[in-house]
């Protein structure tokens, strides 16, 4: 999904992707399926900082228009978060990435990949990460 022009792998901020997947469970929710994420950057950021997101389960990627972010009981379509510059996702805080798709190839144990690209608001960091920081984590998850 992400095609950074620079070598973003050199960014020290990428190391914090280790905390991005907060729980190793893929949960059934009324809208479809959900995973719990933790804000990956080293400071809080507004949702407008999210420049890309993707979720795949056992190799099947959920269509971008079917992804939602549920934060403090508010639901934001990922396609439109680029305009949400008033809402902060705080450090240490969890949110749900929700797939509006009932028929994912879910098994007892699943390979779940989450990608989240974050463009820092501080101009200085953008010099090293012009396309944002492409967090990309894969975990084995049981169904809950």
């Amino acid at each position: 999904m992400f095609k950074p022009k620079n070598d973003a792998s050199a960014s020290m901020f990428l190391n914090l992707g280790r905390d991005m997947i907060a729980e190793n469970t893929l949960r059934r929710v009324p809208e479809g399926w959900a995973v719990t994420l933790r804000m990956p950057f080293y400071t809080s950021f507004t949702l407008a900082s999210i420049t890309g997101a993707a979720l795949s389960v056992n190799g099947k990627e959920v269509a971008a228009e079917k992804l939602l972010l549920r934060l403090r009981e508010q639901v934001f379509p990922l396609q439109y978060v680029s305009t949400i510059h008033e809402v902060y996702w705080h450090m240490g805080e969890t949110a749900e990435l929700v797939a509006l798709e009932a028929d994912l190839p879910v098994q007892d144990v699943n390979e779940v990949r989450v990608q989240l690209c974050v463009r820092p608001g501080f101009e200085g960091y953008l010099l090293a990460n012009p396309d944002g920081i492409p967090y990309d984590e894969t975990r084995q998850m049981e169904v809950q």
Binding site: M12, F13, N15, L16, R18, D19, A22, R38, Y42, T43, S44, F45, T46, A48, S49, T51, S82, T83, H85, Y88, H90, M91, G92, E93, T94, R119, P120, G121, F122, E123, G124, L126
Partner: protein, 265 residues
């Protein structure tokens, strides 16, 4: 000088949700810190207008015999995707942060601002200077590697106010440091900043088996600050958690604060 701990030091566990900001504040007090530094965009779950939360955290800090030594924030130009922040929006953010510093009882406020060109910083400081004076809060520009120690001289001269001063970060005097990108400046360059220093960040990315920072000469940096007659805070600011998960932050904070006490008491 006074010795404290930036709650930034506990980042690895706060970021992962293993401890709370309150846990970190209590731990800093247990180590004997005189003050703590709090960061708006890290330690407040209701940021940016977090006055009730700030009042509660201030109360906790003071109940433990400490004070909020410094309040740090970021004035970001790229909050929106469709355009850069306007000058008026930057001023509005600065004013909001100053009021938060006041609620916290912090006399020093560190807004990280990308000062390119330097005139943009000068204009922003001048726009809120009367507010800083009114509330008795000093804007501390953080002097951080890879920028050289005299980086803010033009702005300091242009603003020429005791309410616009410097927060030297030890990274400016680190040897090699992160990815070898840091400038190894001589400590005479720190001494030259004596009239401007109001607060210091004791930066570290790791410690050896003796609790020393192999990249940063704490002994001589702290001796230089004493020689300068520096009376503000030096706070631990451990940043190794950005590079690796590492040891639990309580252990790191204790090692780091012991290093400060060894040479700064």
């Amino acid at each position: 000088m006074k010795l404290g701990i930036s709650i930034y030091t506990y980042g690895t566990d706060i970021h992962a949700g293993r401890i709370t900001v309150e846990d970190a504040i209590r731990h800093a007090a247990s180590l004997g810190a005189q003050g703590v530094e709090l960061i708006g965009e890290q330690h407040f779950m209701t940021y940016p207008d977090a006055h009730a939360e700030a009042a509660r955290l201030r109360s906790l800090v003071e109940s433990l015999g400490m004070e909020v030594a410094c309040y740090s924030t970021y004035i970001n130009g790229l909050i929106r995707q469709d355009r850069r922040a306007t000058f008026e929006e930057l001023v509005q953010k600065a004013e909001s942060d100053i009021l938060m510093a006041k609620t916290l009882g912090a006399k020093i406020w560190r807004p990280a601002f990308f000062a390119a060109p330097m005139q943009s910083l000068i204009d922003l400081v001048n726009a809120v200077l009367s507010m800083l004076e009114e509330h008795g809060i000093i804007w501390g520009a953080e002097l951080h590697a890879p920028f050289p120690p005299m980086y803010y001289k033009e702005a300091l001269d242009a603003v020429n106010s005791p309410y616009f001063r410097l927060i030297p970060d030890f990274s400016c005097w680190a040897k090699g440091g992160l990815d070898g990108k840091y400038i190894d400046a001589g400590l005479d360059t720190l001494e030259a900043l004596a009239p401007y220093c109001v607060h210091c960040h004791g930066k570290s990315h790791g410690f050896d088996e003796n609790g020393e920072d192999p990249n940063t000469d704490y002994k001589n940096i702290l001796a230089t600050l004493k020689k300068m007659g520096f009376e503000g805070y030096v706070v631990c600011e451990y940043e190794g958690w950005l590079l690796r998960a590492g040891k639990p932050s309580f252990e790191i904070a204790e090692t780091h604060f012991n290093l400060l006490k060894r040479y700064g008491s």
